[in-house]
Symmetry: C2
Subunit: 208 residues, 2 copies
DNA sequence: TGAAATTTACCGAACGGTAAGAAAGATTGT
DNA sequence: ACAATCTTTCTTACCGTTCGGTAAATTTCA
């Protein structure tokens, strides 16, 4: 599509290689902890080659962020095609909880902390366009159909994203079972999957 | 109390000054982005003074982390004294959403990313002892009373912590209102307060 | 032969960390 | 009471390393 072509101009293969090598590094360790040297080693290039394609570290990070959001955005768009609202939410949750998409929270923090105003604005727009937007659209339709209720779509979306962050974080910590007083043996990964998350999101946890 | 004395040995005033100066820096910017020079400037001391009290940057960070957890832990213990489970949860949420306690998520990440195994273990123990534990105890009692249901206390606690992280993150972003398609004008800070969080936690968001 | 892509070799600045000793207050001998 | 001593606390000046970034030359390919 012409419009997407404009948003994501054709990138040189080497530039893509660099971005894809830098992505997991930035996602795992954050902006400052990843050095340019780390990136060029991972991408198997030399430093001036990196600076041939990116003006400085910040621009590299911005491009990595945009790349990530476009990737996740297309996955979310696809996941939003389900039949019922519940199905769509479960598919969305599966995308958000996928290994490759984890740690978005850290990326969001680094974007606000280490990126200048102009580029930050670019990233914020991309975040709402590709990540927040599709989810919010599902929420809005759920509200219109009466399947969801009580809060505006934006709040529901923020909630949903936050839940996926925590599900991922605690789901990966086997340590938790070790220290949790009441859940030893029950706290396995499967219980923190997409279905549980949507169930919790829809029905809450009150008894009676 | 004698026991607490053991857990938190008397610290030299200068050491406390350094820790309290470093705390907001680490919480806002993370481990790597904060330099020793930043800390000594904030604490108004010189570098060798810092290294007189802390063997290296990692030990400083660990002490800062323990300090934070003890602070939040005592606040959480107090908040857990409410009459009903709902009241207790609201008080806990208020503590977690308080300005001073925000960004725990980033601290948790940095603990796992930049701290060696031994110290990491220390921090993980402190996390479960002072933060996770008190909340989980409230959840366990809620389950016993039938006010909560359907999931073990550990999962409920992870959920609750994750919700507070996202409420804080999105609550602080006025930008969100700007880009949210359906909630312009509705997405003010008050709506992302402790009461809303507990309501959402207990009752979910399904319609009908 | 000329533009695009990539390299070797290097730069100043900032990083975490330290050696050596000056202040400062408490402790001691007389 | 008073100076000498000792221990705790804190400073000036510096170290080797790594950081982000670049000048200039070379390879690659059309």
């Amino acid at each position: 599509m012409m419009h997407e072509q404009l948003l994501q101009p054709t990138q040189a293969p080497t530039a893509v290689k660099i971005i894809e090598a830098a992505l997991p590094l930035f996602m795992k360790r954050g902006y400052t902890a990843v050095s340019i040297t780390d990136v060029i080693k991972a991408a198997e290039i030399t430093k001036p080659t990196l600076y041939y394609y990116f003006s400085d570290k910040e621009e590299l990070f911005v491009q990595v962020g945009l790349h990530l959001m476009l990737m996740m955005g297309s996955q979310l768009q696809e996941a939003a095609q389900g039949d019922s609202t519940a199905e769509r939410l479960t598919s969305l949750a599966r995308v958000l909880l996928a290994e490759r998409n984890a740690d978005m929270r850290l990326m969001r923090h680094e974007m606000f902390e280490h990126v200048g105003p102009a580029n930050r604005d670019l990233l914020v727009r991309a975040f709402y366009a590709h990540l927040f937007g599709p989810i919010e659209a599902v929420m809005a339709e759920g509200l219109a159909q009466g399947v969801l209720a009580r809060y505006p779509a934006g709040i529901l979306t923020a909630m949903f994203l936050g839940m996926s962050d925590s599900f991922h974080e605690f789901g990966q910590q086997a340590r938790l079972a070790q220290w949790s007083i009441a859940t030893v043996g029950h706290f396995a990964n499967p219980m923190l999957g997409a279905e549980t998350m949507v169930d919790l999101f829809l029905h809450g946890v009150r008894g009676g």
